[in-house]
């Protein structure tokens, strides 16, 4: 009886490989079909069959996340963005490493796995932010430009901040500040040229029961789903500063938007030199902010109102006399 149980559980493990699964980082694809979390359509790249995404694999063990990607690439870059925690970037144009003309809506990536022209030594994995910082990982890419490649990386969960869920997207892009030619999961704003806003991500639940430990005995495909976020373009409905010429205050900053947005109000000198953020990263669609101007020197100032979601900004002048 015991032999049967052992044999059948072994058999189960072989037929339905589930987490925890420790992948050998050696360039050979030992992921299982149940770990193919995103499969891209063949021949849907805007840049010919030499630059085509194929499949993204993902699995984990108790401490490490394993990602594999099969693709074809020639003289371009492969980028895999991971959103693991709150915060992150929404515009890859501003990166100091692998900047690309891609923006994000719905998920804000915190990590980037990137390589150029099938050479992982020209890329790597970094944490994203105002400045990127390299993280420790193990990785190998096998294959050469123009033919089928396989990239696999192992990242400790500790480095990723022990996420409960990971949202990801993979892209093939050109050089610095260039756009994307192929994406998985598919996103209609990628058209082979020009900028793109990615709002469709593949979301994998690592820790479904919230016990602080990655889930085991599950097939990653079963806990993956494609999430499509609304791309909103919140507009400023009404913005004013009252009074806009003040000696001591109180001064009210009133902002109304058509949609909830992440609002920042920045203060500049009259020549355009940045001083500080009066309101920073506030998620709202309406605010009447009481601004304390006691520590402000007398002079003319400029307030800039902008959100991370929309493309517009508003500028107002203010005087403290």
């Amino acid at each position: 009886m015991r032999k049967f149980l052992v044999l059948s559980s072994l058999f189960t493990l072989l037929l339905y490989p589930e987490t925890f699964h420790s992948i050998q980082i050696d360039g050979e694809n030992d992921f299982s079909p149940e770990e193919a979390v995103v499969i891209d359509n063949a021949n849907d790249s805007y840049w010919s069959s030499q630059n085509e995404l194929d499949t993204l694999f993902l699995t984990w063990n108790a401490e490490t996340l394993f990602i594999g990607c099969s693709y074809t690439l020639n003289n371009n870059a492969l980028l895999i963005f991971l959103d693991t925690e709150t915060g992150g970037i929404d515009n890859a144009n501003g990166l100091d490493w692998y900047p690309r003309d891609v923006r994000f809506s719905g998920a804000k990536p915190d990590f980037l796995v990137a390589l150029w022209n099938c050479d992982l030594s020209l890329g790597g994995i970094r944490k994203l932010g105002e400045n990127t910082s390299p993280v420790s990982y193990r990785g190998v890419n096998s294959g050469s430009p123009g033919e089928k490649n396989f990239l696999e990386v192992a990242i400790p969960f500790e480095v990723l901040g022990n996420p409960q869920k990971i949202s990801l997207t993979a892209l093939i892009c050109g050089g610095d500040y260039a756009g994307a030619g192929d994406v998985m999961p598919d996103d209609p704003s990628v058209r082979g040229s020009g900028s793109a806003i990615i709002n469709i991500f593949r979301e994998i639940t690592i820790d479904g029961d919230g016990d602080g430990v990655p889930d085991s005995l599950i097939a990653p495909v079963d806990v993956s789903k494609t999430e499509e976020y609304k791309v909103s373009f919140p507009e400023f409905k009404s913005v004013y500063i009252r009074p806009d010429i003040a000696q001591t205050g109180p001064v009210t900053i009133h902002v109304e938007l058509t949609d909830t947005a992440t609002l920042t109000v920045a203060l500049f000198t009259e020549e355009g030199r940045f001083l500080k953020n009066v309101i920073e990263g506030l998620r709202t669609d309406f605010i009447e902010y009481s601004w304390d101007i006691h520590d402000l020197d007398k002079g003319i100032y400029i307030l800039k109102f902008y959100t991370s979601e929309n493309r517009g900004m508003l500028k107002k002048a203010f005087v403290r006399y």
């Binding site: 010919s48 123009g146 373009f233 493309r311």
Partner: protein, 434 residues
């Protein structure tokens, strides 16, 4: 004896040194490039010429380029390496793009043989080219044509062989000329390509030019490219040009030179299947004092159904003391809140050259862009000195020239990339020619 032989030939070449000091290396100066070429040209009797060039880099001397040519009254044969001898006529379909045949990577790299024959208005050319750098492949191109007279015609055959497969294309073209009319037609067939079946593999085009018709210059063209027409030696029909596959359309162009004024008005348009169209209107004015002004407006509807409008203004002035070009462009007029475009933007640019003395000048290109959200810029400054006595050039540069080198504000780098900034790098380039 060797000296005698050497003295019958011509030695020439150049050396180039580049020193770079970038901000990201804390402005530390380092030698970025140390390169020289030395070529020996030897003209033998019987109109034979040989040329060999060696290239010099630290630790590496290479046999860089060569040619051996024989020239007769009606033929020429050349065997060569790393030279561009890959041109072939294809006036309507552009079936041969020389950069796709010559193994282009910082210059031509292919090795090859080329023969040309001509006699009394007829000519034939044959090229064999082998790629050595960008891929393992070879190409063969052959053409035969009659190029003079009222009736002209041509035949073209090309084949590219690479590791896994090959691609063969053949074409015929014809032309009729009677001033001011020029009528041309060209048709080509993709004989074989591994990715395409044997159907819808024809491409054809026909064109009528009337130069001039009074104050007008007129051009009309009709074209149709089959879904499965592939030509790996062309920029238009290789596998990554998915936008040209299955395209059919008409193109027209009219230029009107206003009588007695140096003003030219040009209109261009095309209409293609999938409801794609493009309209372009331009006015170009020349003033005294070597000043010219140009403005144009164009509207495009692409294969996704989106409409894009652009407007452009330019002033150019030239004089003894220098040159000045100022441009202003509004791109994607009216585009707002669209996922795949950064939206309406204005791009300004200036290019200037100031002659400081007979042998020294200052050159700059500065361009910046602005849209709803932010502004970005790229600048390039250069002081150039050509000492009058020696054949040398010295350049001191700041910034990145490639951001604005494709006609300033029309360069996609500055016009379409919101995050672009001036590259903080100083470079010193020294070149010496002999």
């Amino acid at each position: 004896m060797i000296l005698l032989i050497l003295s019958l030939g011509e030695f020439h070449g150049w050396f180039e040194y580049q020193y770079t000091s970038p901000e990201w290396e804390y402005w530390n100066l380092y030698q970025e490039k140390n390169y020289g070429e030395m070529g020996f040209l030897y003209k033998l009797p019987g109109r034979t010429e040989t040329y060999t060039a060696l290239s010099f880099e630290p630790g590496k001397i290479q046999f860089k380029r060569m040619h051996l040519t024989f020239q007769g009254n009606f033929f020429s044969i050349a065997t060569f390496k790393a030279e561009d001898r890959h041109w072939f006529d294809s006036p309507l379909l552009y079936l041969v793009s020389s950069e796709r045949v010559r193994d282009e990577s910082y210059g031509a790299n292919a090795e090859g043989v080329r023969c040309d024959l001509w006699k009394r208005g007829y000519a034939s050319g044959f090229l064999f080219s082998r790629y050595t750098v960008t891929e393992k492949a070879q190409a063969i191109i052959w053409d035969l044509k009659k190029y003079e007279g009222f009736l002209t015609w041509g035949l073209l055959y090309l084949k590219k062989d690479w590791v896994s497969s090959f691609n063969e294309v053949a074409s015929v073209r014809i032309g009729l000329f009677k001033r001011p009319f020029e009528l041309r037609g060209e048709i080509a067939k993709n004989l074989y390509h591994p990715d395409t079946p044997d159907s819808e593999n024809l491409a054809g085009a026909m064109e009528l030019r009337i130069v001039p018709l009074g104050p007008f210059i007129i051009l009309g063209k009709a074209y149709s490219y089959g879904m499965n027409f592939r030509d790996e030696l062309s920029n238009e029909y290789n596998s990554s040009r998915t936008d040209n596959q299955g395209k059919r359309g008409v193109y027209g162009e009219i230029s009107y030179l206003l009588p007695r004024r140096a003003i030219t008005i040009t209109g261009k348009t095309y209409r293609e299947n999938l409801n794609r169209y493009w309209y372009y209107l331009e006015a170009y004015v020349e003033f005294v004092n070597n000043i010219s002004f140009k403005t144009c407006y164009d509207v495009t509807r692409d294969r996704f159904g989106d409409v894009w409008k652009h407007a452009f203004f330019e002033v150019v002035a030239e004089g003894k003391t220098g040159r000045l070009k100022f441009q202003y462009k509004i791109k994607d007029i009216g585009v707002k809140n669209v996922e795949y475009s950064i939206g309406q933007r204005s791009i300004f640019g200036i290019e200037g050259k100031l002659n400081l003395s007979q042998s020294m000048w200052f050159y700059t290109r500065v361009a910046f862009g602005e849209d709803q959200r932010t502004a970005w810029e790229s600048a390039f400054f250069q002081i150039a000195y050509r000492p009058p006595v020696s054949n040398s050039e010295i350049y001191l540069e700041y910034g990145e020239p490639s951001h604005t080198d494709a006609d300033l504000v029309n360069d996609g780098d500055i016009a379409d990339r919101e995050g672009i900034t001036t590259v903080n790098r100083v470079r010193l380039i020294l070149k010496y020619y002999f």
